[in-house]
């Protein structure tokens, strides 16, 4: 690691060793040495103020491959260093994954999004993490690198274990996230409720991705995921299933919403009660499906609509 080491020590800060390697190999040397991974740092900073400043950190921003970002029709691949701001500004990304684009736009503030990475939001594994439900409905896979050359893909659902806890083992690096782009007859969206309009954490959030039959309104496939109403973001399998084979009507939407509200596992805390969170899930599921309907119509100028 020698040549990549630099030590930053302003007099008013505790002693920190910051490593800035330019290769994955260099990153792993530092991780093995006990360094904490630093990408955007927006979650690390508040973490450090509560748990104490890590003495060794490895900044991965110098590793060029981790900035990789590709969008093709089938799958999007986002490297660990790609910021949320970069993603929002990319029109192809917004078209390919509208729910993820929605969710990214809610995170923090403009300044935070320009610094924070998408993968950072995933690895923080907050129950209220905005991008998690959206990534779940887009069938996200997290790329875990155990050592140079040793990579495995884990579905996001499996990756998230508990509040702040993921499958990432010591010595491993989450190097990227990939997920499905929209195919023909598909649409997705994400909505959340917060007390404030910005700079706030979700009290409850919902993402959905629907596949329509060729008729344009019967649901052929559905994925629904919920945030801030369980220890991790949850995939609402039963709620999604209830839509399949049916056209979207007031009734099918409200059945789906009711099942989602029933099956989620909210807690009462300083932000909201469990009952209120269930009510929000109900409202948000209907809102999200309504949004998908509207978008599907706009994206299909020749479609029949309803």
């Amino acid at each position: 690691m020698g040549s990549q080491v630099s030590i930053i020590r302003p007099s008013y800060l505790p002693e920190i060793e910051l490593f800035r390697p330019s290769s994955i190999d260099g990153v792993f040397e530092c991780i093995k040495d006990g360094a904490r991974v630093l990408a955007g740092g927006t979650d690390l900073l508040p973490w450090a103020s509560q748990h104490g400043q890590p003495r060794k950190m490895v900044w991965i921003g110098n590793v060029e491959p981790l900035h990789g970002f590709s969008v093709d029709d089938e799958r999007l691949q986002i490297g660990a260093c790609v910021t949320q701001g970069e993603l929002i500004r990319c029109a192809d990304f917004r078209r390919a994954a509208p729910a993820v684009a929605d969710s990214v736009q809610f995170v923090g503030s403009v300044q935070l999004r320009n610094q924070a990475t998408l993968l950072g939001n995933v690895c923080s594994a907050s129950p209220a993490g905005d991008t998690l439900p959206a990534l779940l409905v887009h069938e996200a896979q997290v790329e875990i690198t155990g050592a140079p050359g040793q990579e495995r893909q884990v579905s996001l659902d499996d990756f998230l274990l508990a509040p702040g806890k993921t499958m990432l083992a010591p010595g491993e690096l989450a190097s990227g996230v990939s997920f499905c782009g929209l195919r023909a007859n598909e649409m997705s969206a994400y909505r959340r409720h917060t007390e404030r309009r910005a700079l706030d954490l979700a009290v409850a959030s919902v993402a959905a991705r629907l596949v329509f039959e060729a008729d344009g309104y019967t649901v052929a496939g559905a994925r629904v995921a919920l945030g801030a109403v369980g220890p991790t973001a949850l995939v609402a399998i039963e709620a999604a299933k209830s839509l399949v084979g049916h056209p979207l009507t007031g009734e099918t939407k409200s059945i789906c919403a009711a099942i989602a509200a029933e099956t989620c596992k909210p807690i009462s805390d300083f932000r909201a009660s469990a009952d209120y969170r269930r009510q929000l899930v109900k409202v948000l599921v209907e809102d999200v499906i309504g949004e998908i309907e509207q978008r599907a119509r706009i994206f299909k100028p020749n479609g029949e609509g309803r």
Partner: protein, 752 residues
């Protein structure tokens, strides 16, 4: 003369935005020691044992202080002069801890990092005592204690104030309608940008110099002297530039400790609180629970009102002694009510102590009374504006309790002009809209005071001296809290003497050079200090004319000043500059200067009416304020832009009080839930509506150039106006602040 009613940019604005102004935390001092405090983790307990050995062994630790090695002198941090009476129940480090966040010990070390590290090694054992977390429980406990021989902080209310005039009972009996409400307002926090901070250092002569962003240097001097047991003459206090206060820095919290550490260790010491510490270990706005009944006749005339307020002052008395009376005062200065009864009681609880906070009781009592008045109007089926206009006071009416005049009180103008501007009649009668998102409009009136008269020594002494360069030196303990009061005072002086306001140099606010002053509180800067500097400048002007008449050989009555020069009548060729006059006086071993003390003889009301439109999502409870108009009776706006700034900030704060802000004590264990910005929500820019401001400028004869206060009143009407708009939109009667989305959904659900 053109310095009044102009928007002179705030004097230290450039230094602030360019980062040149040196705040207390920016000071670099040789050998400065850093303190870190340890706070109680239990709500009520005796300290059984405290183990400091491990902390003491840390290299770089210079001293450790706790209740066992510091003076146990009791004091009350709200007192600002000898003889003011308030229970003295605070000590630097108490042996019995009264709330989570109470001070247990402090570590002083060579660096902040060492202090932070060492403090974690201190171990404290507590003997827990029963604790009380809300005012109702405190009231019940007081009643229990009264009949037992146990002694506790809860044995009696901190204070109780009542007034009763007319015949309230009889008026209630003949009323057509009586409408009652219980309105609750939360404990809230000031959230000034700058956290609490203080520096103290020994001076060569053995005295202690305290550098502190404060609202009154003399209060700091008094309280510190009391707490550490030295004569006030041993303390010199200098106000440093302040990064906001809103009342949070009105009471010396850190200063006694900091002074004691510096005195004992004979080194400069600083205490700089973090945000979390400022939230949990300083002061709050007290929580109030008001039970209010209003009796009216069918055509909307208020016959009588009965108000009973429980005030939760928290763990220490501080200003809780004054709050019941402050709230009472505001109830008598805005509506003509012939029969009124009031009882205000403040109780101790094992929660954060309250203190001064912008409005000092006014935001709470107006929330209570104005939400209730809207309820009355709703029950009468009457337009709330018309209902209020039937009952509002008129100019020169008299406060029925004190018998003092209210001055040129223009609340009726505010309401009338505001309702026209807002198109109130049409928007109100349109009612709420159909569908998921409902809109509604609401309004509220408010009054606030101008200074402390007749309560405390309401006076300001200022000294003005003409410098030889023609500018002025002003010596006065003027605590500009960042709102621009110094800018306004410079404009007033400049108007009298027609000089540039930028040529006035303000003295340090230093106990060693300034005359005694109450400091910045009670909305007294423009109205009291402004009149004081105006009179001083007028007196100086007479002195200037007396001298110039000799120099110019001209009758003093023919003289006038333009642009820093004295002229004689039409003789343009005959003039002398103020600087030359000062130089000639200096030649005669005299100074062209004057000192004047202005004592207030009135306390007119400032008034405001605010109008709000909200949109409420009936499925999630989310509230958006979509339109806002603030109308203010302030006599005259000396600096219109600063006035608007005050009002915008006041609305932002009042909106937070209405919708989000709540320190929220966990009733199970006394823990503070809202102790960080992610849990204590302030209104940010995306939530703010465009705030329109309309000023009613009707001369107040006792104010400088007709001016009255605006700083505190700006934050009083927003909360009731917004809550009333929500109740109008939803046809609800929400009375518990903050009106959060969840509370709204609760009220809309069939069981709510």
């Amino acid at each position: 003369m053109n310095h009044i009613s102009t928007s002179l940019p705030i004097l230290d604005g450039y230094d602030k935005v360019s980062g040149r102004l040196c705040f207390t935390e920016d000071m670099k001092l040789e050998g400065l020691l850093h303190a870190k405090l340890i706070f109680s983790s239990v709500a009520h307990a005796t300290i059984k044992h405290i183990d400091i050995e491990a902390a003491r062994a840390v290299p770089g630790v210079i001293g450790i202080f706790h209740h066992g090695n510091t003076p146990g002198n009791t004091y009350n941090s709200t007192i600002w002069f000898e003889g003011q009476e308030a229970p003295e129940d605070e000590t630097m480090f108490p042996g019995v801890l009264r709330h989570i966040g109470d001070r247990v010990a402090a570590v002083i070390a060579e660096t902040q990092e060492i202090a932070d590290k060492a403090v974690r090694l201190i171990e404290v054992e507590y003997d827990r005592l029963p604790a009380v977390f809300d005012a109702f429980a405190a009231r019940d406990l007081c009643e229990e204690m009264a009949s037992s021989d146990q002694k506790s902080i809860f044995e009696k209310p901190v204070n109780e104030t009542t007034f009763d005039y007319g015949n309230t009972r009889a008026a209630f009996d003949r009323a057509d309608l009586i409408v009652e409400d219980t309105v609750t307002t939360p404990k809230t926090h000031h959230c000034a940008m700058e956290n609490h901070v203080c520096v103290a250092m020994p001076e060569a002569d053995g005295r202690i110099l305290i550098l502190t962003p404060c609202q009154s240097i003399f209060a700091v001097q008094f309280v510190v002297a009391r707490a550490i047991g030295v004569p006030a003459s041993q303390l010199r206090v200098v106000k440093t530039p302040i990064g906001g206060s809103f009342g949070g820095k009105a009471e010396p919290v850190l200063d006694p400790l900091c002074a004691w550490f510096a005195k004992t260790l004979e080194r400069p010491v600083t205490i700089a609180f973090s945000r979390a510490e400022t939230f949990t270990a300083t002061r709050t706005r007290c929580k109030a629970i008001g039970y209010i009944q209003t009796a009216v006749n069918r055509d909307g005339r208020i016959l009588a009102r009965d108000t009973d307020v429980l005030i939760d002052v928290g763990a220490y008395c501080t200003g809780g002694i004054f709050l019941p009376e402050s709230m009472a005062q505001r109830l008598c200065r805005i509506y003509n009510i012939e029969n009124q009864h009031y009882r205000g009681r403040s109780f101790y609880t094992n929660t954060l102590p309250s203190g001064a906070y912008r409005g000092y009781g006014s935001p709470q009592i107006h929330a209570i009374s104005e939400i209730n008045l809207d309820h009355v109007a709703r029950r009468l089926g009457m337009d709330p504006v018309k209902f209020r206009l039937k009952n509002l006071i008129s100019p020169n009416d008299v406060d029925p309790v004190t018998g003092l005049g209210l001055g040129n009180a223009r609340i009726r103008d505010c309401v009338e002009q505001g309702s026209v501007h807002f198109d109130w009649g049409n928007r109100w009668s349109a009612g709420s809209t159909e569908g998921r998102r409902k809109r509604g409009v609401g309004m509220a009136c408010a009054t606030h005071i101008n200074g402390c008269f007749p309560g405390f020594h309401e006076a300001t002494t200022a000294t003005l001296r003409v410098r030889e360069d023609g500018g002025l030196d002003l010596t006065c303990a003027l605590h500009d809290l960042g709102c621009g009061s110094n800018t306004v005072l410079a404009q007033i002086i400049a108007e009298v003497l027609d000089i540039s306001p930028l040529s006035i140099v303000f003295s340090e606010v230093d106990t060693e050079i300034c005359d005694y002053d109450l400091g910045t509180r009670a909305s007294r800067m423009t109205y009291i200090a402004g009149e004081a500097v105006r009179r001083t400048a007028e007196k100086l002007k007479l002195q200037i004319f007396a001298m110039a008449s000799l120099e110019l050989n001209c009758a003093a009555t023919d003289l006038f000043i333009t642009d820093g020069r004295v002229f004689c009548g039409d003789r343009r060729d005959s003039s002398i500059s103020l600087g030359e006059l000062a130089a000639r006086e200096a030649d005669r071993d005299r100074s062209l200067s004057t000192t004047e003390t202005y004592r207030a003889s009135a306390n007119p009301g400032s008034y405001a009416a605010h109008f709000a439109e909200v949109e409420v999502d009936t499925l999630t409870g989310a509230v958006q304020v979509v339109d806002y108009l603030a109308v203010h009776d302030l006599g005259r706006a000396i600096n219109p832009q600063l006035v608007e700034g005050q009002i915008h900030g006041g609305v932002q704060m009042g909106m937070g009080f209405a919708l989000f802000e709540d320190i929220d004590i966990d009733v199970d264990n006394g823990r503070v839930k809202g102790d960080r910005f992610s849990r204590y929500h302030l209104v940010n820019a995306p939530e703010m509506p465009l705030v329109k401001v309309l000023l009613v400028e009707k001369h107040e004869p006792t104010g400088p150039y007709g001016a009255k206060a605006v700083g505190e009143i700006a934050t009083i009407p927003p909360a009731p106006a917004i809550v009333n708009a929500i109740n109008h939109a939803l046809d609800t009667n929400l009375t518990e602040l903050p009106v959060t989305p969840e509370r709204i959904i609760g009220a809309l659900s069939p069981t709510g």
